[in-house]
């Protein structure tokens, strides 16, 4: 029961920090003015065009594809794998399980391998490409270790040790209605959940901010219409009136 309480507290804390941290970050980005039009051209001239560009960046990693095919491949493997795994995990938070979540279940299981393989490829680049080795910091390595740890511990529970998944589901559904159901005593689930909580905690303080950051990147999200619409920030407008 001690472990159950500890993990309950940990997940409330992690979820709270993740939510508050991300809201804080996103409002900071949104509130910081972009005084000049700086889309990397050629860029779309309409809002709809920008939405399409953003969609290609978010789902296909268009710029990275132009930049480096290996990095693109490993990144797509990791992110697509992670997305499927996350969607599959919805089943542990709802009851009854939605039919599309049941449908993707088999894909989601094997996506775990895709995710770990992609991460391994990305990590390999940090050792074998001299340029990438040069720019890697300890946190870059630890971040990959953390994600691989989450992926591998999950795969181990699915394919090797097995765990009492029904009890885990009860634990999380309980958390969502502020009631405690016991977490099964299983070291692998302790490891898996601890690493996930750690990831949630560091998210708003780390380079994982690339996810919200992309949506606020002026070189990508601005409409290229500088000659047609006057774009001026509040602080720059003050210079005008001070003149």
């Amino acid at each position: 029961m001690t472990m159950t309480i500890m993990f309950a507290v940990l997940f409330y804390f992690a979820a709270g920090l993740l939510t508050v941290g991300l809201i804080y970050r996103i409002t900071t980005y949104a509130r910081t003015p972009a005084p000049l039009k700086i889309p990397t051209t050629p860029a779309p001239r309409t809002r709809a065009g920008v939405v399409m560009l953003m969609a290609r960046e978010v789902f296909l990693f268009q710029s990275l594809f132009k930049g480096n095919l290996w990095t693109w491949l490993f990144s797509i493997m990791f992110h697509a794998g992670l997305a499927l795994v996350l969607l599959r995990h919805i089943r542990y938070f709802i009851d009854p399980v939605w039919s599309w979540v049941i449908f993707i279940q088999p894909f989601g299981i094997y996506a775990g391998f895709l995710m770990v393989a992609g991460l391994a490829g990305l990590w390999g680049r940090r050792f074998f490409v001299d340029r990438v080795r040069y720019i890697s910091t300890p946190s870059d390595h630890l971040m990959l270790a953390l994600l691989i740890g989450i992926g591998v511990s999950g795969l181990v529970m699915k394919f090797v040790t097995h765990t009492d998944i029904v009890a885990i589901k009860n634990f999380f559904i309980g958390l969502m209605s502020f009631t405690l159901h016991p977490l099964p005593a299983d070291n692998m689930i302790y490891l898996h959940l601890s690493l996930i909580a750690l990831l949630m905690i560091i998210f708003p303080f780390s380079k994982l901010l690339h996810a919200p950051g992309l949506f606020f990147s002026p070189s990508r999200n601005q409409v290229e219409n500088s000659r047609d619409v006057r774009h001026i920030s509040a602080w720059a407008a003050k210079l005008e009136s001070g003149k």
């Binding site: 900071t28 980005y29 910081t32 003015p33 972009a34 005084p35 000049l36 039009k37 700086i38 990397t40 051209t41 050629p42 860029a43 001239r45 065009g49 990693f61 710029s63 990275l64 132009k66 930049g67 480096n68 990095t71 990144s75 680049r125 001299d130 340029r131 990438v132 040069y134 720019i135 890697s136 910091t137 300890p138 946190s139 870059d140 303080f205 780390s206 380079k207 901010l209 690339h210 950051g213 992309l214 606020f216 990147s217 002026p218 070189s219 990508r220 290229e224 500088s226 000659r227 047609d228 619409v229 006057r230 774009h231 001026i232 920030s233 602080w235 720059a236 407008a237 210079l239 005008e240």
Partner: protein, 508 residues
């Protein structure tokens, strides 16, 4: 200079070089003295509280520029940009990789502005801002030409140019300015152009030019100065007034206006398209330089503002003028309204000289004798600021098509350089962004390597003997570095130099 400057050998395989740490750590542009600094209102060398001023400025910029704030946080060190910078490809110094150049500032950002950097600096590569760090900033942020090539490949669009600009603004605030750029900006404030040409010199030059052109063509082609009530105000880089091959393009603009019967004028007060305020990343300086153009346009009562061949000037004009001084459409604020009333909105404001020429050519108002350029086998170098920081025409990618359309309309022999070195992926000439100074010649020669390699290919394959471009800095830079790679320096020239040779004048 102690070291002998020579061109690096071409790469055998078109891949990134193995890194050579420290290769360019000694490269240092001359520093601005106290006089130059104070001309721009910046503190001088050796200001006591440089550390607090730098950190204070950084905090200010983080609050004023979303680009800086997001770009400091978003990088994941994926390395997609690491082999995209011409200075890295030419020098192999790993700090010239865009990500590493950003990290020079990001490390300080993390230390002073993020929790992990305050608690565990070793973990996230955070460091204190020391004098050594500031020196490193100065050296390496003056090895970036702000060309934005890296931003094309970054999955988050991180633009190193934005970070370089912020770094230089911080350096200026800490008394650590660059002589070349700051001296030039002061000259614009004082006289009106980067070269410091006062009105009498300008009058003299333009009269001489009219005589030369008359001798050449037998026609009275005018190069008017300060003519009130002219239709067009031409804002062109001051190098066009005397430098080779720039002046040939100026002659080309004059012939286009003459052939089309458009009245036009230059301004002695505002005789510069270039705006080095963008290079030093200082909004107020950039705005102050641009304001001279608004003033000239209002005083001369012109209907249109046209910009000559200059890369960063066109970026500032196309992307920033509407913001800075209200030259453009759609302003609803009182400051720009007077100007808006005066300008003729049937035309794009501002307009690039290439847009003007191509529009006239399409409407057959001007015609060309293409054979006049048959001696030339031509390629086109996309200038970085035009390619990635601006556009032309009414459609996405007009900045690539319109100059090429002109070249193909005025000449018969045209070949593209290799894909991946043109259009949005063009390589910088190696001299942009405030680096076009002899104290950085070694860097400039090395930085032009990727462009020279691509040029060599079309020279070998097609006998190319002329590289056209639309940027004054590109023209000056190539004139200087081409000989280091065994080329004739006259291989570079302007698009309107070609127009000048082919345009039909008398028989219209």
């Amino acid at each position: 200079m102690a070291i002998e400057i020579k061109a690096p050998p071409y790469r055998v395989f078109n891949i990134a070089p193995a890194i050579k740490p420290g290769a360019m750590e000694k490269s240092k542009s001359f520093q601005a003295n106290d006089k130059i600094q104070s001309d721009l209102g910046f503190p001088g060398i050796g200001v006591e509280d440089w550390h607090d001023r730098a950190i204070g400025k950084m905090g200010e910029l983080l609050g004023k520029y979303r680009s800086l704030k997001v770009y400091m946080d978003a990088c994941v060190h994926c390395g997609a940009c690491s082999d995209k910078c011409h200075y890295f490809l030419g020098t192999a110094d790993p700090k010239n990789m865009p990500v590493a150049r950003q990290d020079l500032m990001r490390s300080v950002y993390r230390r002073y502005f993020t929790l992990p950097g305050k608690l565990f600096p070793w973990l996230v590569g955070a460091r204190d801002l020391t004098r050594e760090v500031l020196d490193e900033w100065y050296n390496y942020y003056h090895q970036c030409s702000e060309c934005r090539r890296c931003s094309v490949f970054c999955p988050y669009g991180i633009d190193t140019a934005e970070i370089t600009m912020a770094a230089r603004d911080i350096l200026d605030a800490a008394g650590y300015g660059q002589k070349y750029s700051n001296e030039i900006i002061a000259k614009v404030h004082l006289i009106g152009n980067n070269l410091g040409l006062p009105k009498p010199a300008l009058v003299d030059t333009l009269e001489g030019l009219e005589e030369d052109v008359k001798e050449d063509t037998g026609l009275d082609i005018k190069f008017p100065l300060d003519v009130k009530g002219a239709e067009v105000l031409l804002i062109t880089p001051s190098a066009d007034f005397f430098a080779e091959p720039h002046i040939d393009s100026l002659i080309g603009y004059g012939k286009v206006f003459h052939a089309a019967g458009i009245s036009w004028t230059l301004s002695s007060m505002s005789s510069e398209a270039g705006n080095f305020g963008i290079f030093i990343g200082n909004y107020e300086q950039m705005r102050k330089v641009a304001l001279r153009i608004r003033q000239a346009a209002l005083e001369l009562g012109v209907k249109r503002i046209v910009v000559g061949e200059c890369g960063h000037a066109w970026r500032v004009a196309y992307s920033f003028w509407n913001t800075l001084i209200g030259v453009g459409d759609g302003a609803t604020d009182p400051y720009a309204i007077e100007l808006q009333k005066q300008l003729d909105h049937r035309y794009k404001q501002p307009m690039h000289i290439c847009e003007l020429t191509w529009d006239l050519a399409e409407r057959k108002i001007i015609t060309f004798d293409k054979e006049a350029n048959d001696g030339k086998i031509i390629t086109f170098h996309d200038s970085c600021n035009v390619a990635r920081g601006s556009s032309m025409g009414d459609y996405q990618g007009g900045q690539f098509e319109i100059p090429r359309n002109i070249v193909k309309a005025v000449a018969n022999n045209f070949y593209e350089m290799r894909e991946g070195t043109t259009h949005e992926q063009t390589f910088c000439c190696g001299g942009g962004g405030g680096l076009l100074t002899d104290d950085l010649l070694d860097l400039r020669v090395k930085g032009s390597l990727p462009r020279m390699e691509a040029l060599q290919e079309v020279v070998d394959a097609h006998g190319v003997n002329f590289m056209a471009c639309i940027c004054a800095i590109c023209k000056s830079q190539f004139t200087k570095v081409l000989p280091y790679y065994g080329f004739d320096r006259r291989l570079i020239g302007g698009v309107h130099q070609l127009v000048s040779s082919a345009i039909r004048l008398g028989d219209k």
